[in-house]
Amino acid sequence: MKEPLPFDHRPDTVLGEELRRALDPGDAASFVARVLARAAEARVASWDAVLARWARPGVAAAVLVALAAGYLVGRASAAPAPRPSVYDALMAPPAHPGEVDIVLASVIGN
């Protein structure tokens, strides 16, 4: 069985303080300012990315809507005139009145 390590469970304040000094980066203010500036840039960039991401589907959707609208408008304008009702057909003046007279004369004559 392994011997347990003789480990001090408390931080070594002397070593810790020397290491802290050795690793001290200094000038915290400029670092914080730099990070916050980059974060602000990243936020703007992310909005740009979001808009850019939406731009392509947006254009595609607009094209589809325009095509659909064009199709509907075109179809509406090209549609045939409504068919006349039976009443309208009977009451309308004949296109060739002479033919009607001939037909009537032949019927009455018989």
């Binding site: 931080p11 002397v14 810790g16 000094r21 980066p25 915290a28 974060a39």
Partner: protein, 194 residues
């Protein structure tokens, strides 16, 4: 601006409002994110420097990690402490940067530094001791460096360091033990030589 964290247990900051700050930052509150950055700037930069050595690289890595954390805030589990979560991102960012960077030319240490020196009473002497400590730290395996810095400098518990490094607590104890042995020997030599 001075480092707002106390010398010991620096990352052990008031955590009661931290979850709220995180929620606000995730919702786009820049002020809340600013508070988090101010609180953790010191420890993040020290951990990154422990990994990378070079202070400029360390600051770049710490900055990248902070921004990465901002993007990932919605993945943070508010039931867990924020510090270890953030420092894991920092340690990973620093490690990635170390792997990516090309080998830099390293200026050799002053012979006087490597051979020891007087008691660090003056600024120059203290700077020299710092240089020796950084050199000694750089010779340790990366995980050991981060473990000892988080334990002895930042005051994190073994469990928290285990979470940061993704290793068992027992391994953290072992890493800190071995790192301390090396660094304490260096400090003792320094004092003896003085």
């Amino acid at each position: 601006m001075a480092d707002p964290q106390p010398p010991q247990r620096a990352a052990r900051i008031a955590e009661q409002d931290e979850a709220e700050l995180v929620v606000r930052a995730a919702a786009g509150d820049r002020a809340a994110f600013g508070v988090l950055v101010e609180r953790y700037a010191g420890v993040a930069r020290r951990v990154a420097r422990a990994v990378l050595g070079n202070p400029e690289d360390a600051d770049d890595a710490a900055q990248d990690a902070m921004l990465s954390a901002l993007v990932k805030l919605d993945q943070y589990d508010a039931r867990r402490p924020f510090g270890p979560w953030l420092l894991r991102i920092v340690a990973n960012a620093a490690t990635d940067r170390r792997r990516r960077r090309t080998v830099r030319r390293v200026d050799p240490l002053d012979a006087g530094l490597t051979a020891g020196g007087p008691r660090p009473d003056t600024t120059a002497e203290r700077r020299a001791l710092g240089e020796r400590l950084r050199q000694a730290l750089a010779e340790l395996p990366e995980r050991r460096r981060v473990a000892v810095v988080l334990f002895d400098v930042e005051g994190y518990s073994h469990a928290e360091i285990a979470a940061v490094l993704g290793i068992p607590e027992g391994t953290v104890r072992s890493e800190v033990f071995h790192a301390r042995r090396r660094l304490r020997a260096l400090l003792a030599d320094w004092k003896e030589e003085a």
